[in-house]
Amino acid sequence: MKKFHIGFFEHRKIYFAISIGIMLVGLIFNFIYGTQLDIKFTGGAVLRYSYTGTIDQEDVQRIVQQTTDKPVTVTVSKDVKKTGNSAKNNVSLSFAGTESLSLEKQQAVAADLAKEYPNAHFTVVESNSINPVMGRDFLLKCVISIVIAFLLLIIYIALRFKKIGGASAGAMAIIALLHDVLMVYFTFIIFRMPLNDNFIAVVLTILGYSLNDTIIIYDRIRENRRLMGPRTEYSVLVDTSINQTFTRSVYTASCTFLSIATVFVVGAVFGLDTVKTFALPMMVGIVTGCYSSVCIAGPLYVMWQNHKAKQRLENVPAKKSKK
């Protein structure tokens, strides 16, 4: 059976550099593009129609603006795969501002478009019109639920891993989790996907998943602390534990990654945006979730424990420290 001997603690600086590097890239993108919030959070309206034949984008924009008195962005995507054999084109209208669009206006838009293009057969594929107050409530709820989840998870780890310094173990696990949340966030930024409820679902999934990874390593540390005795150095203890669980980490990550990648590929083939924008950040999250548990949480925990040990030494009377 294959055994790993990777010096995770020794190479920690490389791992930290990789993570910080990626985050910097994400941050730069964030500065350039800004953060887009989906209309589910901000309020606003997006209508998507399918049609046959050809339409003129600027014409559509003019008509819709006239009907609704609102600036509108028109995006046309051709040959969208649909059920059945008929390939259809899609046109999506996103309205500026955060107000919802009344039903009367929506009907008027459809009617005016049908008048201009009688042969295009406009049909609603998807429509979303969200009130800004409700959008803000929803966003707040999402944020609060993530915060509550974080707090409860810290408490749980602190209780379960008392023997290996519960609170510090919990804190390091949370740093690893924050790392993953940031990575998922930057995935949305870099791929220019607006933050929506998918983002919340992915973040919460990755929280559970990455924490599971970290816990399995901590569990091994707890076990090895018993087996190897309290005199073992933290770096050795943690490295041994991570290496022992490494096979499992890789297997599980690849299995989950494989499944989500399948979902992503199928979603892309069928042209399902909701599925795609869920699966892509999820794939990133699974990789960083595994990476952060192995390469970030473990070494950080060792650094913290070493730091504490050093402080303890310094506090001991001078006689010993002279030696």
């Binding site: 059976m1 795969k81 649909k82 059920t83 059945g84 919802s100 009344s102 039903l103 929506q106 009907q107 049909t123 609603v124 594929v125 998807e126 429509s127 979303n128 019109s129 969200i130 009130n131 409700m134 929803f138 709820k141 639920s145 509550i148 989840a149 998870l153 749980y156 379960r160 409820d197 679902a201 919460l204 999934t205 559970g208 998943y209 924490l211 599971n212 816990i215 399995i216 569990d219 091994r220 096979t247 499992r248 297997y251 599980t252 299995c255 989950t256 494989l258 499944s259 989500i260 399948t262 979902v263 590929v265 199928v266 979603g267 083939v269 069928f270 399902l272 909701t274 599925v275 869920f278």
Partner: protein, 462 residues
């Protein structure tokens, strides 16, 4: 033991997927619901979600919202929309409606449908009780539609004539039996018209209509002159308050406006369902292959256990178990199942790797299985409990009634709740299948002579 557990899981899988139907003549009765009976969310099969709010600056009372809700319900039934969900948020004066768009309907015109739902209610009291058509509503009760003859012509009272309607309980003085009735209070003008009508129609029927649907057809027992009347019948408490709410809706002091509106075309929904099904099958096949190649016999057991876990998840949403009501499954809900299956794979991987480690450390087969099971248990336990914590928070925060209700009122979105629910069920299923069933099967099969070879468990070939 191995065969019993494996058989039970296969049986569960089969019944959870296909259900059990009894053919009785031409009627097929569903004894146990299968995956085909799962109620899919509107994001999967297409449909409409709308939020209505009263168009007033004043806060609506609970009764007013209930009235508005009952009128929306009535109109859904009238439009043959039986599979709807409706929530009322009393704190923020919102009524949220979600309903699927039927595939057989050619024109996809959700705007008109929603507009019709929120239109101002038209309540009428009419002479006689003649109707044109009868349909069966979602509750199995007949729905009488479209007045005809004199009933169509003669309108006695309209919504504005009714000041209030309340359900009340009375007790029969001689028998002591309590019964429920609806007490109406009419405006001055209404009282006059009603007095005239009850005098003329004493002993006959006056029917009460909401829009195009007859909601009640009581008989006139006495001439009513003071504008206070009661409608009796063999009402239960619920029926009486439902009727009162419907009558009140006709007298609502506000209009309903649509503040949120989302719709998804069923054709789009169909293709996402196909896609998710396909993705699920491919992913399951890939994972099974991986487990078989890497872990051999424990891999096979893991695949059986995973099947059981998936079946359990579907069973929990389809209404397979009598104690778990069927649940609307949305795309995030499916994601929850996928994630919990991932946790199940993980549990099996941890145990199988632990057994493998022990084998390579030179232990006997039985000793390795024993130690592997013990060593892996707490890691799996802690990992799964944390996921349960996340799932519970999601359910509590985004549920119909939730811990944040105080601040936000009941849920405005069900999709994340659905994710939490399937995740929770999946993780419980994981404890049952990935932990308990896997261990039972591994221990038991290792007792058979043909399965004593350590190679089968990832050890060196003998």
């Amino acid at each position: 033991m191995f065969f019993i557990v494996a058989f039970l899981i296969l049986f569960l899988t089969y019944t959870a997927l296909f259900g059990i139907h009894v053919q009785n003549g031409d009627n097929s009765t569903t004894v146990i619901k299968g995956a085909g009976d799962i109620r899919w969310g509107i994001d999967i099969r297409g449909g409409v979600e709308a939020t209505f709010s009263p168009e007033t600056t004043q806060k609506a009372t609970k009764d007013q919202l209930n009235s508005a809700k009952s009128i929306i319900e009535l109109r859904m039934v009238k439009n043959n929309i039986t599979d709807y969900e409706i929530y009322t948020d009393y704190n923020n004066d919102r009524i949220i409606v979600r309903f699927p768009w039927k595939n057989d309907e050619k024109s996809f015109d959700p705007e008109s449908a929603v507009k019709e739902l929120s239109a101002t209610a038209l309540l009428t009291f009419r002479e006689g009780g003649e109707y044109t058509t009868t349909e069966t509503g979602s509750d199995g009760q007949p729905v009488y539609k479209t007045p005809k003859g004199t009933t169509a012509e003669k309108i006695i009272l309209q919504g504005a004539d009714v000041t209030s309607a309340k359900s009340e309980m009375t007790q029969d003085e001689t028998t002591g039996k309590s019964s429920y009735l609806v007490a109406l209070e009419l405006s001055g003008d209404g009282a006059k018209k009603f007095a005239e009508a009850t005098e003329r129609l004493n002993g006959q029927t006056i029917s009460i209509w909401m829009d195009d649907v007859m909601i009640s057809a009581p008989r006139v027992d006495a001439v009513i002159t003071d504008g206070k009347c009661t409608i009796t019948g063999n009402f239960t408490a619920q029926e009486a308050s439902a009727l009162a709410a419907k009558i009140n809706a006709g007298a609502l002091p506000f209009k309903l406006s649509t503040t949120n509106f989302s719709s998804i075309n069923p054709s789009l929904g169909d293709s996402s369902l196909d896609a998710m099904f396909l993705a699920g099958c491919i992913a399951f096949a890939l994972v099974s292959l991986f487990m078989l190649i890497v872990f051999r016999l424990p891999g096979l057991i893991a695949v059986i256990a995973l099947m059981g876990q998936v079946a359990l998840s579907f069973a929990a949403v389809s209404g397979y178990f009598p104690f778990l009501p069927s649940f609307t499954l949305t795309l995030p809900g499916l994601a929850g199942i996928i994630l919990s299956v991932g946790m199940g794979v993980d549990a099996n991987i941890i145990t199988a790797t632990r057994i493998k480690e022990e084998l390579w450390a030179g232990k006997t087969l039985d000793g390795s299985i024993q130690r592997g099971d013990e060593n892996s248990f707490w890691a799996i336990f802690d990992g799964n409990i944390t996921v349960i914590i996340v799932a519970l928070i999601l359910m509590l925060v985004f549920g119909p009634t939730n811990i944040l209700s105080l601040f936000f009122g009941p849920s405005t979105t069900g999709s994340i709740y659905s994710f939490g629910y399937t995740l929770l069920i999946g993780v419980i299923g994981n404890f049952l299948m990935g932990v308990t069933a896997t261990r039972l099967m591994t221990k038991s099969i290792s007792g058979f002579q043909f399965a004593r070879n350590k190679w089968l468990y990832g050890g060196a070939a003998q």
